[in-house]
Amino acid sequence: MTTICFSGRVEYLHTAPRSFLPMRSCETLRLIEGVGVEGDRYATENGFYSNLPHPGRQVTLFEMETLEAIERDYKIAFAPHEHRRNITTRGVALNHLVGVHFLIGKVLLIGHQLSVPCRHIEQVTGKEVFNGMVHRSGLLARILSSGHVHVGDEIKLV
Protein backbone atom coordinates (compact mmCIF):
# COMPACT_ATOMS: atom_id res chain seq x y z
CA MET A 1 0.00 0.00 0.00
CA THR A 2 1.26 3.44 -0.94
CA THR A 3 1.40 5.96 1.83
CA ILE A 4 0.38 9.50 0.92
CA CYS A 5 2.66 12.00 2.56
CA PHE A 6 2.77 15.71 1.97
CA SER A 7 3.05 19.09 3.59
CA GLY A 8 0.68 21.51 1.96
CA ARG A 9 -1.09 24.79 2.43
CA VAL A 10 -3.65 27.13 0.93
CA GLU A 11 -2.07 29.79 -1.30
CA TYR A 12 -5.17 31.51 -2.71
CA LEU A 13 -8.93 31.49 -2.26
CA HIS A 14 -11.37 32.64 -4.93
CA THR A 15 -15.09 32.79 -5.51
CA ALA A 16 -17.59 34.22 -8.00
CA PRO A 17 -21.35 34.51 -7.61
CA ARG A 18 -22.36 33.76 -11.20
CA SER A 19 -20.99 32.07 -14.31
CA PHE A 20 -18.46 34.00 -16.42
CA LEU A 21 -17.86 36.70 -13.78
CA PRO A 22 -14.22 37.16 -12.79
CA MET A 23 -13.13 35.21 -9.72
CA ARG A 24 -12.50 37.47 -6.74
CA SER A 25 -9.62 36.80 -4.39
CA CYS A 26 -10.40 36.59 -0.66
CA GLU A 27 -8.60 35.76 2.55
CA THR A 28 -11.35 33.50 3.91
CA LEU A 29 -14.09 31.28 2.51
CA ARG A 30 -16.88 29.64 4.47
CA LEU A 31 -17.46 26.04 3.44
CA ILE A 32 -20.93 24.67 4.13
CA GLU A 33 -21.25 20.94 4.81
CA GLY A 34 -22.95 19.14 1.94
CA VAL A 35 -23.58 22.36 0.01
CA GLY A 36 -20.55 24.31 -1.15
CA VAL A 37 -18.75 27.59 -0.76
CA GLU A 38 -20.91 30.32 0.72
CA GLY A 39 -21.89 32.75 -2.01
CA ASP A 40 -20.17 30.80 -4.75
CA ARG A 41 -22.01 30.07 -7.97
CA TYR A 42 -22.07 26.32 -7.45
CA ALA A 43 -23.64 26.64 -4.00
CA THR A 44 -26.48 28.71 -5.46
CA GLU A 45 -27.07 26.94 -8.79
CA ASN A 46 -25.62 29.86 -10.72
CA GLY A 47 -22.59 28.04 -12.16
CA PHE A 48 -21.91 27.28 -15.81
CA TYR A 49 -22.39 23.57 -15.05
CA SER A 50 -25.14 23.88 -12.45
CA ASN A 51 -27.54 22.23 -14.90
CA LEU A 52 -25.48 19.09 -14.35
CA PRO A 53 -25.88 18.48 -10.60
CA HIS A 54 -22.79 16.87 -9.16
CA PRO A 55 -22.48 15.74 -5.54
CA GLY A 56 -18.72 16.13 -5.55
CA ARG A 57 -18.53 19.68 -6.87
CA GLN A 58 -19.03 21.40 -3.53
CA VAL A 59 -15.57 22.91 -3.48
CA THR A 60 -12.86 22.80 -6.11
CA LEU A 61 -9.09 22.74 -5.68
CA PHE A 62 -6.17 23.38 -8.03
CA GLU A 63 -2.42 23.08 -7.63
CA MET A 64 -0.18 26.15 -7.75
CA GLU A 65 2.43 23.80 -9.19
CA THR A 66 0.22 23.22 -12.24
CA LEU A 67 0.07 26.95 -12.95
CA GLU A 68 3.86 27.02 -12.81
CA ALA A 69 4.12 23.97 -15.06
CA ILE A 70 1.78 25.48 -17.65
CA GLU A 71 3.92 28.59 -17.75
CA ARG A 72 7.09 26.51 -17.99
CA ASP A 73 5.82 24.02 -20.59
CA TYR A 74 3.41 26.10 -22.64
CA LYS A 75 4.71 29.64 -22.00
CA ILE A 76 1.23 30.66 -20.86
CA ALA A 77 0.95 32.84 -17.77
CA PHE A 78 -2.09 31.38 -16.03
CA ALA A 79 -2.96 33.13 -12.80
CA PRO A 80 -4.68 31.71 -9.69
CA HIS A 81 -7.88 33.64 -10.43
CA GLU A 82 -8.06 32.20 -13.95
CA HIS A 83 -8.41 28.45 -13.32
CA ARG A 84 -11.80 29.17 -11.70
CA ARG A 85 -11.36 26.71 -8.84
CA ASN A 86 -11.93 27.94 -5.28
CA ILE A 87 -8.76 26.83 -3.53
CA THR A 88 -5.24 27.04 -4.93
CA THR A 89 -2.91 24.73 -3.04
CA ARG A 90 0.83 24.26 -2.78
CA GLY A 91 2.56 21.07 -1.81
CA VAL A 92 -0.42 18.74 -2.28
CA ALA A 93 -0.68 16.08 -4.99
CA LEU A 94 -4.40 16.54 -5.51
CA ASN A 95 -4.67 13.62 -7.93
CA HIS A 96 -3.93 11.29 -5.01
CA LEU A 97 -6.80 12.52 -2.88
CA VAL A 98 -9.78 10.90 -4.59
CA GLY A 99 -11.59 8.97 -1.84
CA VAL A 100 -9.24 10.37 0.79
CA HIS A 101 -10.30 12.38 3.85
CA PHE A 102 -8.26 15.52 4.48
CA LEU A 103 -8.39 18.71 6.50
CA ILE A 104 -7.98 22.29 5.37
CA GLY A 105 -7.48 24.12 8.63
CA LYS A 106 -10.31 22.66 10.68
CA VAL A 107 -12.64 21.82 7.79
CA LEU A 108 -12.98 18.15 6.86
CA LEU A 109 -13.22 17.25 3.17
CA ILE A 110 -13.15 14.14 1.05
CA GLY A 111 -11.77 14.06 -2.48
CA HIS A 112 -14.61 13.03 -4.76
CA GLN A 113 -13.38 13.08 -8.34
CA LEU A 114 -10.66 14.55 -10.50
CA SER A 115 -11.70 17.62 -12.37
CA VAL A 116 -11.39 17.53 -16.15
CA PRO A 117 -10.44 20.51 -18.30
CA CYS A 118 -13.15 22.20 -20.32
CA ARG A 119 -13.26 24.69 -23.17
CA HIS A 120 -15.21 27.04 -20.92
CA ILE A 121 -11.92 28.02 -19.27
CA GLU A 122 -10.43 28.95 -22.63
CA GLN A 123 -13.56 30.86 -23.53
CA VAL A 124 -13.40 32.89 -20.32
CA THR A 125 -9.66 33.48 -20.20
CA GLY A 126 -8.91 33.66 -23.92
CA LYS A 127 -5.89 31.44 -23.18
CA GLU A 128 -5.27 28.07 -24.79
CA VAL A 129 -4.78 26.15 -21.58
CA PHE A 130 -6.92 23.09 -22.28
CA ASN A 131 -4.06 20.79 -23.25
CA GLY A 132 -1.92 22.00 -20.39
CA MET A 133 -4.64 21.05 -17.92
CA VAL A 134 -5.14 17.46 -19.08
CA HIS A 135 -4.56 15.08 -16.13
CA ARG A 136 -3.85 18.00 -13.78
CA SER A 137 -7.06 19.89 -13.73
CA GLY A 138 -7.62 19.79 -9.99
CA LEU A 139 -9.94 18.05 -7.59
CA LEU A 140 -13.65 18.16 -6.83
CA ALA A 141 -14.30 17.63 -3.12
CA ARG A 142 -17.24 17.20 -0.78
CA ILE A 143 -17.45 19.17 2.44
CA LEU A 144 -17.94 16.97 5.50
CA SER A 145 -17.92 19.70 8.17
CA SER A 146 -18.77 23.38 7.92
CA GLY A 147 -16.21 26.03 8.76
CA HIS A 148 -13.93 28.74 7.48
CA VAL A 149 -10.77 28.15 5.47
CA HIS A 150 -8.07 30.80 5.24
CA VAL A 151 -5.14 31.64 3.02
CA GLY A 152 -2.15 29.95 4.64
CA ASP A 153 -4.15 27.13 6.24
CA GLU A 154 -2.37 23.84 6.46
CA ILE A 155 -3.70 20.95 4.39
CA LYS A 156 -3.20 17.52 5.93
CA LEU A 157 -4.54 14.01 5.99
CA VAL A 158 -6.88 12.99 8.79
Binding site: P17, S19, F20, L21, P22, G47, L52, V134
Partner: protein, 319 residues
Protein backbone atom coordinates in the same frame (compact mmCIF):
# COMPACT_ATOMS: atom_id res chain seq x y z
CA UNK B 1 -33.61 26.88 -28.46
CA UNK B 2 -33.40 25.77 -24.87
CA UNK B 3 -31.43 28.59 -23.31
CA UNK B 4 -29.68 27.81 -20.07
CA UNK B 5 -29.30 31.06 -18.15
CA UNK B 6 -25.87 30.22 -16.74
CA UNK B 7 -24.39 29.74 -20.20
CA UNK B 8 -24.53 33.52 -20.60
CA UNK B 9 -23.61 36.57 -18.62
CA UNK B 10 -26.74 37.58 -16.74
CA UNK B 11 -26.70 41.35 -16.54
CA UNK B 12 -29.16 43.94 -15.32
CA UNK B 13 -30.22 47.02 -17.23
CA UNK B 14 -29.04 49.67 -14.79
CA UNK B 15 -29.95 52.53 -17.12
CA UNK B 16 -32.01 52.69 -20.30
CA UNK B 17 -32.54 55.96 -22.09
CA UNK B 18 -33.58 57.20 -25.49
CA UNK B 19 -30.56 58.98 -26.89
CA UNK B 20 -32.67 60.47 -29.69
CA UNK B 21 -33.10 59.62 -33.36
CA UNK B 22 -34.38 56.13 -32.58
CA UNK B 23 -31.25 55.15 -30.68
CA UNK B 24 -31.62 53.57 -27.25
CA UNK B 25 -28.66 53.50 -24.96
CA UNK B 26 -28.40 50.75 -22.34
CA UNK B 27 -26.04 50.41 -19.42
CA UNK B 28 -25.61 46.82 -18.24
CA UNK B 29 -24.21 45.77 -14.88
CA UNK B 30 -24.05 42.70 -12.67
CA UNK B 31 -26.90 42.59 -10.16
CA UNK B 32 -24.42 42.94 -7.26
CA UNK B 33 -22.14 45.25 -9.22
CA UNK B 34 -19.49 42.53 -9.39
CA UNK B 35 -16.72 43.22 -11.91
CA UNK B 36 -17.54 42.08 -15.44
CA UNK B 37 -15.28 40.15 -17.82
CA UNK B 38 -12.74 42.49 -19.35
CA UNK B 39 -13.06 43.65 -22.94
CA UNK B 40 -10.85 45.49 -25.40
CA UNK B 41 -11.86 48.52 -27.50
CA UNK B 42 -13.80 47.49 -30.62
CA UNK B 43 -15.46 44.51 -28.90
CA UNK B 44 -19.08 43.47 -29.25
CA UNK B 45 -21.41 41.17 -27.35
CA UNK B 46 -24.24 38.92 -28.46
CA UNK B 47 -27.49 39.94 -26.82
CA UNK B 48 -30.23 37.32 -26.54
CA UNK B 49 -33.31 39.23 -27.59
CA UNK B 50 -36.80 37.84 -27.85
CA UNK B 51 -36.24 37.75 -31.62
CA UNK B 52 -32.92 35.91 -31.45
CA UNK B 53 -29.25 36.78 -31.03
CA UNK B 54 -28.10 40.25 -32.05
CA UNK B 55 -24.62 41.77 -31.92
CA UNK B 56 -24.01 45.15 -30.37
CA UNK B 57 -20.69 46.94 -30.03
CA UNK B 58 -19.60 48.01 -26.57
CA UNK B 59 -19.30 51.77 -26.62
CA UNK B 60 -18.07 52.34 -23.08
CA UNK B 61 -14.52 52.79 -21.84
CA UNK B 62 -12.89 49.37 -21.57
CA UNK B 63 -11.16 50.54 -18.42
CA UNK B 64 -14.51 50.64 -16.61
CA UNK B 65 -14.67 47.06 -15.40
CA UNK B 66 -18.17 47.24 -13.93
CA UNK B 67 -20.39 48.15 -16.86
CA UNK B 68 -21.04 47.57 -20.53
CA UNK B 69 -22.84 50.22 -22.58
CA UNK B 70 -24.51 49.54 -25.91
CA UNK B 71 -26.46 51.70 -28.34
CA UNK B 72 -29.26 50.13 -30.40
CA UNK B 73 -30.80 51.76 -33.45
CA UNK B 74 -34.48 50.95 -33.86
CA UNK B 75 -35.04 49.18 -37.15
CA UNK B 76 -38.83 49.21 -37.59
CA UNK B 77 -38.78 46.75 -40.46
CA UNK B 78 -36.00 44.61 -39.07
CA UNK B 79 -36.35 41.15 -37.59
CA UNK B 80 -37.44 42.38 -34.17
CA UNK B 81 -34.23 42.44 -32.11
CA UNK B 82 -33.98 46.22 -31.91
CA UNK B 83 -37.73 46.54 -31.28
CA UNK B 84 -37.33 44.28 -28.26
CA UNK B 85 -34.46 46.41 -26.95
CA UNK B 86 -36.48 49.58 -27.49
CA UNK B 87 -39.88 48.44 -26.27
CA UNK B 88 -39.37 45.22 -24.34
CA UNK B 89 -36.65 46.19 -21.87
CA UNK B 90 -36.77 48.46 -18.85
CA UNK B 91 -34.37 49.46 -16.11
CA UNK B 92 -33.94 46.54 -13.73
CA UNK B 93 -34.64 43.82 -16.31
CA UNK B 94 -32.22 40.94 -16.74
CA UNK B 95 -30.50 40.48 -20.09
CA UNK B 96 -28.47 37.48 -21.23
CA UNK B 97 -25.33 38.40 -23.15
CA UNK B 98 -22.23 36.61 -24.37
CA UNK B 99 -18.67 37.26 -23.34
CA UNK B 100 -17.25 40.20 -25.29
CA UNK B 101 -15.51 39.27 -28.52
CA UNK B 102 -13.38 41.47 -30.71
CA UNK B 103 -13.20 41.32 -34.50
CA UNK B 104 -12.26 44.99 -34.73
CA UNK B 105 -9.31 45.18 -32.40
CA UNK B 106 -7.33 48.33 -31.91
CA UNK B 107 -3.62 48.18 -32.77
CA UNK B 108 -1.78 50.82 -30.76
CA UNK B 109 1.33 50.56 -32.90
CA UNK B 110 0.65 53.69 -34.98
CA UNK B 111 1.12 57.41 -34.32
CA UNK B 112 -1.99 58.78 -36.01
CA UNK B 113 -5.53 57.41 -36.23
CA UNK B 114 -8.30 58.39 -38.60
CA UNK B 115 -11.60 57.06 -37.26
CA UNK B 116 -14.44 57.04 -39.79
CA UNK B 117 -17.99 56.32 -38.67
CA UNK B 118 -21.37 56.32 -40.36
CA UNK B 119 -24.56 56.46 -38.29
CA UNK B 120 -24.83 53.81 -35.57
CA UNK B 121 -21.45 52.48 -36.77
CA UNK B 122 -19.87 55.02 -34.46
CA UNK B 123 -20.40 52.79 -31.41
CA UNK B 124 -17.21 50.68 -31.61
CA UNK B 125 -15.26 53.84 -32.44
CA UNK B 126 -16.41 55.35 -29.14
CA UNK B 127 -14.76 52.60 -27.12
CA UNK B 128 -11.48 53.26 -28.94
CA UNK B 129 -11.26 56.95 -28.09
CA UNK B 130 -10.31 56.67 -24.40
CA UNK B 131 -7.57 54.16 -25.13
CA UNK B 132 -6.10 56.20 -27.97
CA UNK B 133 -6.19 59.46 -26.04
CA UNK B 134 -4.60 57.88 -22.97
CA UNK B 135 -1.89 56.46 -25.22
CA UNK B 136 -1.16 59.98 -26.47
CA UNK B 137 -2.08 59.25 -30.09
CA UNK B 138 -3.11 61.85 -32.67
CA UNK B 139 -6.77 61.06 -33.39
CA UNK B 140 -9.32 62.56 -35.73
CA UNK B 141 -12.93 61.42 -36.00
CA UNK B 142 -15.06 61.75 -39.13
CA UNK B 143 -18.67 61.05 -38.19
CA UNK B 144 -21.36 61.09 -40.84
CA UNK B 145 -25.11 61.16 -40.22
CA UNK B 146 -28.16 61.92 -42.35
CA UNK B 147 -29.63 64.57 -40.04
CA UNK B 148 -28.17 66.57 -37.21
CA UNK B 149 -30.57 64.86 -34.78
CA UNK B 150 -28.94 61.54 -35.61
CA UNK B 151 -25.57 62.70 -34.29
CA UNK B 152 -26.49 61.37 -30.87
CA UNK B 153 -22.95 60.44 -29.86
CA UNK B 154 -21.33 63.83 -30.50
CA UNK B 155 -20.90 64.56 -26.82
CA UNK B 156 -19.20 61.22 -26.21
CA UNK B 157 -16.66 62.03 -28.89
CA UNK B 158 -16.06 65.58 -27.73
CA UNK B 159 -15.51 64.38 -24.21
CA UNK B 160 -12.25 62.93 -25.47
CA UNK B 161 -11.21 65.13 -28.39
CA UNK B 162 -10.92 68.87 -29.00
CA UNK B 163 -13.34 70.40 -31.48
CA UNK B 164 -10.83 70.63 -34.30
CA UNK B 165 -10.32 66.86 -34.26
CA UNK B 166 -14.00 66.04 -34.68
CA UNK B 167 -15.58 66.41 -38.09
CA UNK B 168 -19.34 66.00 -38.30
CA UNK B 169 -20.96 65.50 -41.71
CA UNK B 170 -24.72 65.88 -42.16
CA UNK B 171 -25.30 64.53 -45.65
CA UNK B 172 -29.12 64.27 -45.91
CA UNK B 173 -28.51 61.17 -47.99
CA UNK B 174 -26.40 63.02 -50.55
CA UNK B 175 -22.94 61.41 -50.84
CA UNK B 176 -21.48 64.69 -52.10
CA UNK B 177 -22.14 66.18 -48.65
CA UNK B 178 -20.75 63.19 -46.79
CA UNK B 179 -17.18 62.23 -45.97
CA UNK B 180 -15.00 62.64 -49.05
CA UNK B 181 -13.07 59.51 -48.26
CA UNK B 182 -10.61 59.55 -51.12
CA UNK B 183 -9.50 63.12 -50.42
CA UNK B 184 -9.38 62.47 -46.71
CA UNK B 185 -7.14 59.46 -46.98
CA UNK B 186 -4.94 60.63 -49.83
CA UNK B 187 -1.46 61.47 -48.67
CA UNK B 188 -1.83 60.06 -45.16
CA UNK B 189 1.54 59.12 -43.72
CA UNK B 190 2.73 55.55 -43.23
CA UNK B 191 2.24 56.03 -39.50
CA UNK B 192 -1.51 56.48 -39.91
CA UNK B 193 -4.10 53.77 -39.32
CA UNK B 194 -7.73 53.91 -40.40
CA UNK B 195 -10.65 52.39 -38.51
CA UNK B 196 -14.06 52.48 -40.15
CA UNK B 197 -17.51 51.22 -39.25
CA UNK B 198 -20.68 52.20 -41.03
CA UNK B 199 -22.97 51.42 -43.94
CA UNK B 200 -21.75 49.47 -46.96
CA UNK B 201 -21.20 52.47 -49.24
CA UNK B 202 -18.90 54.17 -46.74
CA UNK B 203 -16.97 50.99 -46.11
CA UNK B 204 -16.59 50.35 -49.83
CA UNK B 205 -15.24 53.87 -50.31
CA UNK B 206 -12.67 53.35 -47.55
CA UNK B 207 -11.70 49.97 -48.99
CA UNK B 208 -11.18 51.52 -52.42
CA UNK B 209 -9.17 54.45 -51.08
CA UNK B 210 -6.88 52.20 -49.07
CA UNK B 211 -6.56 49.37 -51.58
CA UNK B 212 -2.80 49.95 -51.85
CA UNK B 213 -2.20 50.40 -48.13
CA UNK B 214 -0.63 47.62 -46.04
CA UNK B 215 -3.58 45.70 -44.52
CA UNK B 216 -2.44 46.29 -40.95
CA UNK B 217 -3.20 50.00 -41.41
CA UNK B 218 -6.83 49.46 -42.42
CA UNK B 219 -9.47 48.05 -40.10
CA UNK B 220 -13.15 47.82 -40.91
CA UNK B 221 -16.16 46.31 -39.22
CA UNK B 222 -19.22 45.70 -41.33
CA UNK B 223 -22.67 45.33 -39.88
CA UNK B 224 -23.44 41.65 -40.16
CA UNK B 225 -25.64 38.83 -38.98
CA UNK B 226 -25.04 36.28 -36.25
CA UNK B 227 -21.55 34.91 -36.02
CA UNK B 228 -21.36 31.15 -36.31
CA UNK B 229 -19.16 29.10 -34.05
CA UNK B 230 -15.75 27.99 -35.21
CA UNK B 231 -16.70 24.35 -35.80
CA UNK B 232 -16.65 23.49 -39.46
CA UNK B 233 -17.45 20.52 -41.67
CA UNK B 234 -20.04 19.63 -44.26
CA UNK B 235 -23.69 19.69 -43.24
CA UNK B 236 -25.57 16.42 -42.70
CA UNK B 237 -28.71 15.17 -40.98
CA UNK B 238 -29.02 13.19 -37.78
CA UNK B 239 -31.78 10.66 -37.35
CA UNK B 240 -32.66 9.89 -33.75
CA UNK B 241 -33.60 6.21 -33.65
CA UNK B 242 -35.50 6.23 -30.36
CA UNK B 243 -37.59 9.34 -30.89
CA UNK B 244 -37.86 9.09 -34.66
CA UNK B 245 -36.86 12.73 -35.15
CA UNK B 246 -34.54 14.00 -37.87
CA UNK B 247 -32.37 17.03 -37.14
CA UNK B 248 -30.23 18.95 -39.65
CA UNK B 249 -26.67 19.75 -38.59
CA UNK B 250 -25.37 22.79 -40.44
CA UNK B 251 -21.70 23.31 -41.26
CA UNK B 252 -21.12 25.70 -38.38
CA UNK B 253 -22.76 23.67 -35.61
CA UNK B 254 -21.76 20.58 -33.65
CA UNK B 255 -24.27 17.76 -33.36
CA UNK B 256 -24.75 18.72 -29.72
CA UNK B 257 -25.50 22.34 -30.62
CA UNK B 258 -27.90 21.26 -33.36
CA UNK B 259 -29.81 19.00 -30.95
CA UNK B 260 -30.00 21.77 -28.38
CA UNK B 261 -31.36 24.14 -30.97
CA UNK B 262 -34.27 21.71 -31.33
CA UNK B 263 -34.84 21.55 -27.57
CA UNK B 264 -33.25 18.11 -27.28
CA UNK B 265 -31.32 18.06 -24.03
CA UNK B 266 -28.29 15.75 -24.07
CA UNK B 267 -25.87 15.55 -21.13
CA UNK B 268 -22.60 17.29 -21.91
CA UNK B 269 -19.84 18.88 -19.92
CA UNK B 270 -16.43 19.70 -21.38
CA UNK B 271 -17.76 20.09 -24.96
CA UNK B 272 -14.26 19.34 -26.17
CA UNK B 273 -14.22 15.58 -26.57
CA UNK B 274 -12.56 14.61 -23.34
CA UNK B 275 -15.05 14.11 -20.52
CA UNK B 276 -17.32 11.59 -22.21
CA UNK B 277 -20.56 13.08 -20.88
CA UNK B 278 -22.12 13.17 -24.34
CA UNK B 279 -20.92 9.70 -25.43
CA UNK B 280 -23.61 8.32 -27.73
CA UNK B 281 -24.12 5.11 -29.68
CA UNK B 282 -24.60 5.32 -33.43
CA UNK B 283 -25.82 2.69 -35.88
CA UNK B 284 -25.46 4.31 -39.32
CA UNK B 285 -23.20 6.88 -40.87
CA UNK B 286 -19.49 7.48 -41.53
CA UNK B 287 -18.32 9.13 -38.33
CA UNK B 288 -15.32 11.48 -38.22
CA UNK B 289 -14.09 11.02 -34.66
CA UNK B 290 -12.50 14.06 -33.05
CA UNK B 291 -12.59 13.03 -29.39
CA UNK B 292 -9.55 12.32 -27.24
CA UNK B 293 -10.80 9.34 -25.23
CA UNK B 294 -12.46 6.56 -27.26
CA UNK B 295 -10.38 3.65 -28.53
CA UNK B 296 -10.72 2.07 -31.97
CA UNK B 297 -13.10 -0.60 -30.79
CA UNK B 298 -15.37 1.87 -29.02
CA UNK B 299 -15.38 4.14 -32.05
CA UNK B 300 -17.02 1.42 -34.11
CA UNK B 301 -20.31 2.05 -32.32
CA UNK B 302 -19.91 5.16 -30.16
CA UNK B 303 -19.02 8.82 -30.62
CA UNK B 304 -18.77 12.06 -28.67
CA UNK B 305 -21.33 14.31 -30.27
CA UNK B 306 -19.80 17.51 -28.88
CA UNK B 307 -16.89 17.36 -31.33
CA UNK B 308 -17.23 14.43 -33.75
CA UNK B 309 -19.04 14.79 -37.03
CA UNK B 310 -20.19 12.72 -39.97
CA UNK B 311 -18.82 12.65 -43.52
CA UNK B 312 -21.88 10.87 -44.95
CA UNK B 313 -25.20 12.59 -45.56
CA UNK B 314 -26.97 10.82 -42.71
CA UNK B 315 -26.11 9.67 -39.23
CA UNK B 316 -28.33 7.59 -36.96
CA UNK B 317 -27.92 7.97 -33.21
CA UNK B 318 -29.48 5.86 -30.48
CA UNK B 319 -31.27 8.80 -28.93
Amino acid sequence: MATYKNHHLRLRVSDARDAGASVRRLTLRDQDNWALPAFSPGSHVDVLTAAGIRQYSLLSDARDSHQYEIGALLEPVGRGGSRWIHHGLATGDEVLVSLPRNHFALDLGFDRYVLIAGGIGVTPILSMLPELVRAGKHVTVHYCVRTLEQAVFQDDIRQWLPLDRVHLYVDAGDPRRGIQVEALLEGQSAGTAVYCCGPGGLMDAVAAATAQWPPQRVHMERFKGPVLSDSTGPAFTVHLANSGRTIPVSAGLSILQALRSHDIDVPASCEAGICGSCRTRYTEGVVVHKDLILNAEQRKSEMLICVSRCSSDHLTLEL
